[in-house]
Amino acid sequence: MIPSVFQVVHRYVEYPGTFTLHLAKPRQSTEGFQPGQFNMLYAFGTGESAISFSDLANDDGTLVHTIRAQGSVTQALERLREGDSLGIRGPFGRGWPLEVSQGKNLLIIAGGLGLAPLRPVIYQAQRDLLGAHKTYLFYGARRVSELLYRTELQQWSRSLEVVMSVDYGDNNWPGHIGVITDPLQATGIDGANSVAFLCGPEIMMRFCIQVLLRKGVPESAIYLSMERNMKCATGLCGHCQWGPNFICKDGPVFCYRDIRTWFQIHSL
């Protein structure tokens, strides 16, 4: 699959080292995609990285990705400015199974940058397109300054139950200080009638899953987005193999019931 050339039409720094790019393909409309799917973003001369869609498809055909600069590729993406070009292949993978939240409590649980792939789900929930009984957003980050989409979080709290928690904060911070598992544990939800979508560092998801299971959320109602290094993104190279699955084509979103065995193997 050959990358298409896109242009950066808007660039926004969420907090130092983490930024959001709005990308457009000159003179052409872009393909549709599902929340939870990802693109391979190609920084010319450096390489490609898997990056999730962090917004719904826009009417003007722009794509939105939120990126944390980590290594060579994401640092090269960070150096791009409005008007610069990059390559895009995608969309890839299987996204969030939005239909399962129909009539249920939807628990959206995000840690750090994990809010980015879940933002399109939040938009849909906000517009009441998911048919969920009630939607909760649990969002944990290390510090207040490392929360993504700060102004939107406030807006979301008007229509969704938003619970935020930071590890370190001062007395001006109105949310929780501590770990996100605490408010999750304290929430009075009917676990058996809930579905959960999780995205964040694996270790954070592991602890949240323990809480969800204790609250009676069935394994079959827990979905998580897994991250592994990608190369081809088309299920051919084996780079992202995880147990019997290829994350690029069978995931990145998996049902916990189906991957529990692999999730608990440390060396995978």
Binding site: R68, Q70, G111, G112, G140, A141, R142, E146, D167, Y168, G169, D170, N171, H176, I177, G178, V179, T181, D182, P183, Q185, A186, G200, P201, I203, M204, F207
Partner: protein, 160 residues
């Protein structure tokens, strides 16, 4: 107006305890309101009380020289604060500061200890409840130490 026993009954910590036990414990409890900035407990001072938080937020803090007060966690309605009254030398390990108006039930530590000695089965039930919460807090503190949101969680235990 609700009786103290009825207020104890409403708090999750005492959920499921028979009325007779709550009546027995009620004489140890007082309904207390703290305003924003008030301290429920101070580090290194006698830990005379156990708090059931009914409303508002409480910051559990420690003073770090050259930095100021560092908030380790916040407690909310339904949470409890304080178990230093349980064990000698009965000294508070942390500051507990009201972040807004906090409504709480404050139970005397010495009174509670005496009741638990007198009624060992109630004492055992309460100790199980304390142990569960203490274990959960320990678990949370460990998760917090792991720095779970970072790209490379925790540098603990790794050689530099």
């Amino acid at each position: 107006m609700k009786t103290i026993a009825a207020l104890l009954h409403e708090h999750p910590f005492f959920q499921g305890l028979p009325d007779s036990d709550l009546d027995f414990l009620a004489s140890c409890a007082k309904n207390c309101v703290y305003h924003s900035g008030d301290y429920l407990a101070r580090e290194n001072t006698p830990a005379n009380h156990f708090f059931l938080i009914r409303a508002g937020r409480v910051a559990v803090e420690s003073f770090v020289p050259n930095h100021g007060s560092l908030c380790l966690l916040t407690l909310h309605a339904g949470d409890i604060f304080g178990w230093s009254w349980l064990f000698p030398p009965y000294i508070s390990a942390f500051d507990a500061k009201a972040l807004d108006e906090v409504r709480s039930l404050r139970l005397g530590g010495a009174c509670l200890r005496e009741k638990c000695e007198k009624e060992p089965s109630l004492g055992f039930e309460l100790m199980k409840r304390f142990a569960r919460i203490a274990t959960e807090r320990l678990q949370s503190a460990r998760i917090q130490l792991l720095d779970i949101y970072g790209p490379n969680p925790s540098h603990l235990g790794k050689s530099p």
